[in-house]
Subunit: 260 residues, 4 copies
C-alpha cells in the first residue's frame, strides 16, 4: 500500500511539479483542483505513464464538506495520507479598498485561511493516531507584509501564517511536521505567467534567455525543496523557510512584485 500525498491546488506550477516529484518517490498522488477535469485527467495520466500512482479529484475548497469528503474518502478507500501539500492561492490582483467587496474579502479568507483550518481539522486527528504526518503549506510574501491594494490577500495570508504556527505548536510534539514556505517571487508556471503572456510569447521568453534570469522560480526546483522538507528527520524539522530566484530581491529589500 502506497502512502498518500494529497495535493490541494494541483495546477501546472508548484502543485503539479511537486506531485510528479512525490510520485517518483513512491507516493500515491491524490490531486485536487477546482476545475478543468481534462487538465486533471492529463496530470493523472502523465504520472501513471511514468509508472506512478495517482487519482484526480475536483474540489472547490470554499464549498461545504468538499475538503472533508475527499480526505475521508481517500483514507477509507485508498490508504493513509502521509503528506499534504496545501497549495491554494488567494491572489485576486490589486484592488483598492473602495473597490473591494465584502464578498471578495471573505473569499480570500475562505481560500487561504479557512480551507487550511478545515484540512488540518479533518486530517490531523487521523495523523495523530498514526504518530506521523506532514503538512507543507505554500505561502507568500503577503504572509509577512501587507502591500497597498492587497487587503484580501494580505489578511488571508497573515492569518494563514499564524495558523501554521498555532498548528505547529499543538501538533509538532505529536509527530506532525508543519512547514510554512514563503514563496517570495514569481513562479514560472503556464497557469499564471503563461496565461498572462500567451503561449507563444511564453515559449519565446523561455527559449531566449532562460526563465530564471528574469527572477522566475522554476517549479520543478521548488518541488525538490518540498520533498526535502517532507523527508527531514523529526529531530531537525524546519517550520519556515523562504525561497526566491538569485536575481530577485528578498521582500525586505525590494518591492517590485506587489502581488506575491
Amino acid at each position: 500500500m502506497k502512502p498518500i500525498c494529497l495535493v490541494i491546488g494541483a495546477g501546472a506550477g508548484i502543485g503539479g511539479n511537486t506531485a510528479h516529484r512525490f510520485a517518483s518517490e513512491g507516493y500515491h498522488l491524490a490531486l485536487c483542483r477546482r476545475s478543468n477535469q481534462e487538465g486533471l485527467n492529463n496530470m493523472v495520466k502523465s504520472i501513471k505513464d511514468k509508472g506512478g500512482s495517482a487519482s484526480g479529484h475536483i474540489l472547490n475548497a470554499v464549498k461545504d464538506d468538499c475538503i472533508e469528503d475527499v480526505i475521508n474518502t481517500l483514507e477509507s478507500d485508498i490508504g493513509a495520507i502521509e503528506v499534504i501539500i496545501f497549495n491554494l492561492g488567494a491572489q485576486i490582483g490589486d484592488v483598492s479598498l473602495k473597490d473591494l467587496s465584502y464578498k471578495q474579502f471573505e473569499l480570500g479568507w475562505r481560500m487561504a485561511t479557512f480551507a487550511l483550518f478545515r484540512t488540518a481539522s479533518t486530517v490531523f486527528p487521523l495523523m495523530e493516531k498514526r504518530g506521523k504526518g506532514t503538512l507543507i503549506v505554500t505561502s507568500s510574501t503577503a504572509s509577512v507584509r501587507g502591500n497597498p491594494k492587497q487587503h484580501s490577500h494580505a489578511s488571508a495570508m497573515g492569518g494563514r501564517r499564524m495558523l501554521c504556527q498555532s498548528l505547529n505548536a499543538e501538533y509538532a510534539p505529536k509527530g506532525i511536521h508543519i512547514a510554512h514556505i514563503i514563496v517570495d517571487g514569481a513562479v514560472d508556471a503556464p497557469d499564471t505567467l503563461g496565461r498572462m503572456l500567451g503561449p507563444k510569447n511564453f515559449q519565446k521568453l523561455k527559449e531566449s534567455k532562460g526563465m530564471e534570469h528574469d527572477g522566475l522560480m522554476l517549479p520543478a526546483k521548488i518541488a525538490d525543496t518540498y520533498y526535502h522538507i517532507a523527508q527531514q528527520h523529526r529531530s531537525v524539522w524546519t517550520h519556515e523557510l523562504d525561497m526566491r530566484s538569485f536575481s530577485d530581491s528578498p521582500w525586505w529589500n525590494d518591492n517590485n512584485n506587489s502581488y506575491i
Copy 2:
C-alpha cells in the same frame, strides 16, 4: 462642533479608559459595545459628569450593517469621525483543534479581522475626503506568534496585523494614520481579570501590592499612549509599537501568558 472619537469595544478596560482620556481632550465619544446597555449608559453618564460629551451605541460587530450604520449615523447626525479606537478582542480561551468548531473559528475572524475591514471600508473614504483621520487598533501577542490551542485567535489576529499593514500602505499617503498596538500582557480590567477573581479578591489584590507588580497593565496608562499616538505629527507617525509591564517578559522572551 467636537470631533468624534469612535470606540468600538468600549468595555471597562482599554476601551473605557481611552474614552475618558479622549473625552477630557475635547472629543465627542461615540461608545460601542455588544451588550450591557446599563454599563454603556453609566459610561456615557460618567463622561458627561466630568464635563465631556458622549453617546452610547449597542453594536454587535458580527451582524450585517451594524458597524456601517453606526458610522454613517454618527457622520450625518453628529459630525466627523476623527479617531477610531478599534478595540474588539477575539479571545475564546484555549481550545484544542479537535474541540474547535468551524463556527468558532469563523467567529474569531468575523470579530478580529472582518469587522476591522468593514470599519475601514466604511470610514476611510470619508476620512480621505477630509485628508485626515486616525485608526488605532488594539492588537495582541497573537498577531505575531501562534500558540497551541489558539488557532482561532492567532489566525484572526495575524490577519488583523497584515490588514493594518495593507491599509497603512494605501491610506497613510492620503493622511490617515493607522497604528497597530501589540498589547503584550494582561490588562488590569474588571471585565476580564476582575470577573475571573471576583470583586472582593480583585480589590484585595489591588490594595495589597499594586497591580503592576504582578505584570498587569493599567488601562488608564495605556490610554495615555493611545492619545499620544493619535496626536503624533504626520511627519513622524508610528505604525506599530508594543507594550507590557516592566515586570513581565516580552513575547519573544517568555510564554507565561498563552492567551495574549
Copy 3:
C-alpha cells in the same frame, strides 16, 4: 536637584531637539558630541536662554574611558542620570564589500554596538540601585534589514537591536526602561540633509513646501515621542516602535532610502 538627561550624540537633529524638549520639562541636559565645541556651546547657551539647565561635553565614543568618564563625572558632580538618549549613528554611505576596510567595519560596531554596551555597563548598575532609569536608543531601518553595500551599518545596527533586547530582558524587571526606536525615514536635520543641499537650498526647500511633504521627519516631533516614551508608566512600557513620515513607505513596503 534636577534629574539628568544625558544625550549621547547631540547634533542639530534628533539629539538637539530631544535635548530642548527634556530641558523644558525640568531635566538638566548633559550634551555630548564628538566635535564642534562651538556648536556644543551654542546648544548649551540656547537651552539656558530658555531657562533650562545644560552642560556640554566633547565625547569621542570610540575612545577608551570616554563614555565611562562622562557618566561617572556627571553622577559625582551634578546628580543622578535618569534618562539617556543614545543617539549615535554609524552610517558611512554605500560601500561595496570590496571597498570596505576591516577598520571601517570595526568602527561601525564600535560606534553603534560597543558604545551602547559600554554606556549600559556603566550606568545600569547605578540606575539599578535607584530602582529606575530610562534608556532610549535611536535606531534605524538597518536594525531590521540589511541592504546591499550596507555591511558595516547593518551588522552594527542588527547587533544594537539584539543588545537592546538582552538589556531589556535583564533590566526591565529591575525598573529600567529600554526603548529601541526604529527611525524608518530621513530626518529633516541641518547636520545631515542640510549639509548635503547647502544652507540656501535647504531653507528654500523648507519654505516652499514644508519638509514633511517630501517624507522628511521633523526632529522636534520625534522629540515629542521620545519624551512620551520616557514618561510611560512602568506597567505599560514600550520596548520597540517605528516612525516615519505619512508620505513615506515603511521599510517592508519600499526601499527608496537604502541608507536608513
Copy 4:
C-alpha cells in the same frame, strides 16, 4: 580537481557531520578548528578512510590574517572553494551585565560577526569571478531574540544575521548563495552536551531513549539539510530557515533554552 568545501568550525557536531556529508558527495573538505590537532587529524583520516578527500587546518578566527591565509592557500594550492560552512559559535554561557568584561563582549563580535565579514571579504571576490559559490552560516536563536545575560552572544548573532542579509543583497545577483540557518535547539554533539554529561552518561542517555526524544537535534540530519540548501537551483534559493526537534518548541513559543 575536486571542488572545495571549507568548514570553519569543524568540531564533532554540525561542522564534522556536514564535512562527512559533503565529502561523500565528492568535495574536498578543508577542515578548520581552533585547537586539538589530534582531533582534526582524526577527522581528516576518518574522511579519507571512507574514500573522501580532506585536509586539516588549525585556525584561530580571532587572530589577524588567519582566515585570509587559509582561504588564499586553499585557492592557490588545492582549488576553487565552492562552499563554505561557517560554523563558529560565540556562546559563553549566561553572564550578567555586571560580570561581562569589555573584552568578552568584543570577543563575541570577533568570532560571530567580524570573522564572517573577513571570510566573505576574502572569498566573495574569488567566487564572483567564477559566477558561483555558496556560504552557509550556522546561526542561532540569539540572532532573532536577545535573552537576559546573553549580551555578547545576542548582539554578535544579531549582527551576524543582518550581515548575512546585506551580503545576500549584494552578492546573490552575482551568483553567490548565502543561507542563514537558525539552529533553534540543542544539538546532540559530544563536544557540547557530551562534555557536560561525561562520556559514560552521554552514551547511556543515547542508548536508553534516543536523543531526539529529549529535543536534541541529530547533527548528521542537520547536515542533510545543509547539503540540500547547497544544491538548490539558483532560481529557488532559500536565504533563511529554522530547525529544531519535533519535541522542542520554536523560539517564539518557548524559552526553555536560553543559550541557543
